[in-house]
Amino acid sequence: MLCLHLHNDLECLTRLQAAFAAWAETVGLDRDESLLMQVVLEEVVGNIIRYAYPVGQTGPVSVQIEQQPGELLIRVCDAGIPFNPTQQPPPDLDSALEDRQIGGLGWHLVRSLVDAIEYQRCGGENVLCLRKRWLGGNQ
C-alpha cells in the first residue's frame, strides 16, 4: 500500500507521482498503465491543490493507493470546500476547433481512465474513491 499525507502545494504532486511510479513498479503495473494512473493523480490531486482551499491557506491532501483483488483502489481525501467531481458535466468533444473549449478535459480523462468513481462528503472532508480494474501484478 502507498499512503502519503500531503498538502496543497504543486511540489507535492511531483512527489506523489514519483512515489506512485516507484510503487507501481514494485507491484508489477506496466509502464503505460502506470503513466495513465499518474495522469489520474495529476487531475484529481492537482485540482484539489489548485481549488480546494482559499488562496494562501494551507490544507491537507491524503492519498492512499492499494492493490485489491482484481483492482487498484485510489482514495483521496481533503478538507477543502465540498466538491463532487461525479457531477461535473462532460466536455463537448465534437465541437469544431473554433468552438472547442481549451480546458475542461481533466475530469473527462479521469472518468475514462478508471472504472468507478465514488464521492462522499464525510466529516467535513471530500472523500473520493477511484477503482481501476487490474488483473496483473506481483501479488
Binding site: 468533444l93 473554433e98 472547442r100 480523462l109
Partner: protein, 121 residues
C-alpha cells in the same frame, strides 16, 4: 520536458521530449504564443520523445491549433505513442490537429508550397 524549436519563415517545429507536466505546459504555451505573435502560422509538434501528458498539457495543443488557424495556417502533431497517444485519443485532441506517425510524414508538403503567381499576359 525539453523543447527544441526550429523556425523557418512562418513555419515552426517544436521537438519535445520527456514529461509535459503542468509547469512545462505553461512554458510551452509561452513559447508557442511567442512564435504565433511573430507571424508563425504553420506549427509542427513532434512528441515522439514525450511519454507523459495530462489535461494541462493538452490545453497547449488545443490553443496552438486555434492560433495557427487564426493566423491562416495549420498545426500538425507527430510521434504519438503509448500513454500519450491514449490521452490524445480519449480527449479527441488528436482530431483537432492533423496527426502523423512520424515527423517526416508530417513534413510532407508542410508548410504547403505557396500559391503559384499568375503572370499577367
Amino acid at each position: 520536458m525539453t523543447s527544441q524549436i526550429e523556425r523557418a519563415g512562418d513555419f515552426c517545429a517544436f521537438i519535445l521530449s520527456g514529461r509535459i507536466e503542468p509547469a512545462d505546459a505553461d512554458q510551452l504555451q509561452a513559447q508557442v504564443n511567442a512564435q504565433c505573435d511573430d507571424a508563425v502560422k504553420w506549427l509542427l509538434f513532434d512528441l515522439a520523445g514525450v511519454d507523459y501528458i495530462g489535461s494541462v498539457g493538452l490545453r497547449v495543443f488545443v490553443s496552438a491549433a486555434k492560433r495557427a488557424r487564426a493566423n491562416g495556417g495549420e498545426a500538425r502533431l507527430s510521434g504519438l505513442s503509448g500513454a500519450v497517444k491514449h490521452v490524445f485519443e480519449i480527449t479527441q485532441v488528436n482530431k483537432l490537429l492533423h496527426t502523423f506517425p512520424t515527423r517526416f510524414d508530417a513534413m510532407k508538403n508542410f508548410p504547403p508550397p505557396p500559391d503559384p503567381v499568375i503572370q499577367p499576359n
